[in-house]
Symmetry: C2
Subunit: 216 residues, 2 copies
């Protein structure tokens, strides 16, 4: 019984990693679509989001079934409840990549990102990938040291958002309002994306140590 249960936990982790890989593709492709005004890339992210949603739905069904069959208590039950939350965060990260792609599509064939924001948007995309890499290690190896590092990367993302907003609101900004609003929303999507990764890292930290992470 215990062995089957642990195999089931591993299969949940495998699905979380599969979702993480899809979310990684999604945010990476969405960032390229936004930076290069590539409609085909944007459409790909928008279409692929359904795959992430479907994995989540099936995984959550299975997780609740495991609860019902195995009747876990204490830490095993907490681990399953935390799994449901992790898959909800991953699904939402997919949605946010989808939102970035939709901005690219909305402005096509024009460029959504003006020259003065190309660098900061590229850096936000790169920060998202760094965060996902650490988050994958946290999910796979229940690595609490890496879990704390995700919070530091999130600080970096917040800084990038502030940099983007101060460019938009600065004296040299000469783009139309539409562009300012698009870019403000884009920065919000990356920032929220990163918040969900922090939320996952904190849940793993809590499940593993029984304590809230020092920064939560």
């Amino acid at each position: 019984m215990r062995d089957i249960f642990h195999e089931e936990l591993e299969s949940i982790t495998a699905d979380h990693l599969k979702m993480t890989a899809l979310v990684r593709d999604a945010i990476s492709t969405a960032t390229s679509a936004l930076l290069t005004s590539d409609l085909a890339l944007a459409e790909k992210v928008i279409a692929d989001d359904l795959a992430i949603d479907l994995i989540q739905q099936a995984l959550d069904e299975r997780t609740v079934n495991i609860m019902a069959r195995q009747q876990p208590v204490a830490s095993d039950l907490r681990r399953l409840v935390s799994s449901l939350r992790i898959s909800a965060d991953l699904e939402r990260m997919g949605d946010l990549a989808h939102h970035v792609a939709k901005l690219a599509r909305l402005r096509y064939p024009n460029k959504a990102v003006p020259a003065e924001l190309v660098e900061v948007i590229s850096e936000m995309g790169a920060a998202a990938l760094r965060i996902l890499e650490k988050m994958a290690v946290v999910i796979e190896f229940r690595d609490t040291t890496r879990a704390l590092e995700v919070e530091i990367d999130d600080d970096e993302m917040d800084k990038l958002q502030r940099r983007l907003l101060s460019t938009i609101l600065g004296p040299e900004w000469d783009q139309p309002v539409e562009c300012a609003v698009d870019m403000a929303f884009a920065s919000r999507y990356y920032e929220r994306f990163s918040d969900h990764a922090v939320s996952i890292a904190r849940r793993v930290y809590y499940t593993e140590t029984g304590e809230y992470s020092p920064r939560s």
Copy 2:
């Protein structure tokens, strides 16, 4: 055993209603703070958000304990899992009210809302309250008809957001970029607030009928 279990379910519902009432105060006060540049009101919403977070934390602890003790299966288990998600949505709605209040504080003593957007922001605030009223009935009476109505109110909120954005992006807009960005974010907070209410309504619909709501 069953009786204690059903009492416990009722106490979860009572906490959801308590959270709903606090979220209602928060969004209502935050809207006033934003419209009237009232710093004291904004600070109140920001400080009160902690109370919502604490109820959620305690409630989630208790819900997991009920799962461990009662070992529910089938629909009872699904109901508890759904409760955890409802409290997460309510907590997030509190955060979004908090974000609206922070916009008011950020621009104080200036008005955050320019004259041409006062009406649409008031309407978004009113729409949020209408949605919360229906959502409270959905939570308290597991009312699936009202659950479907929440989705219609959400369409109204989406329309209001489009109206706000088209004013900002329209030819008559003559406010600074900062104001456009603030108002775009405000509209996003109301729109997301409404989305979380839809998510709660859909969960209740699903738990009660065993089917996804026709629009999900």
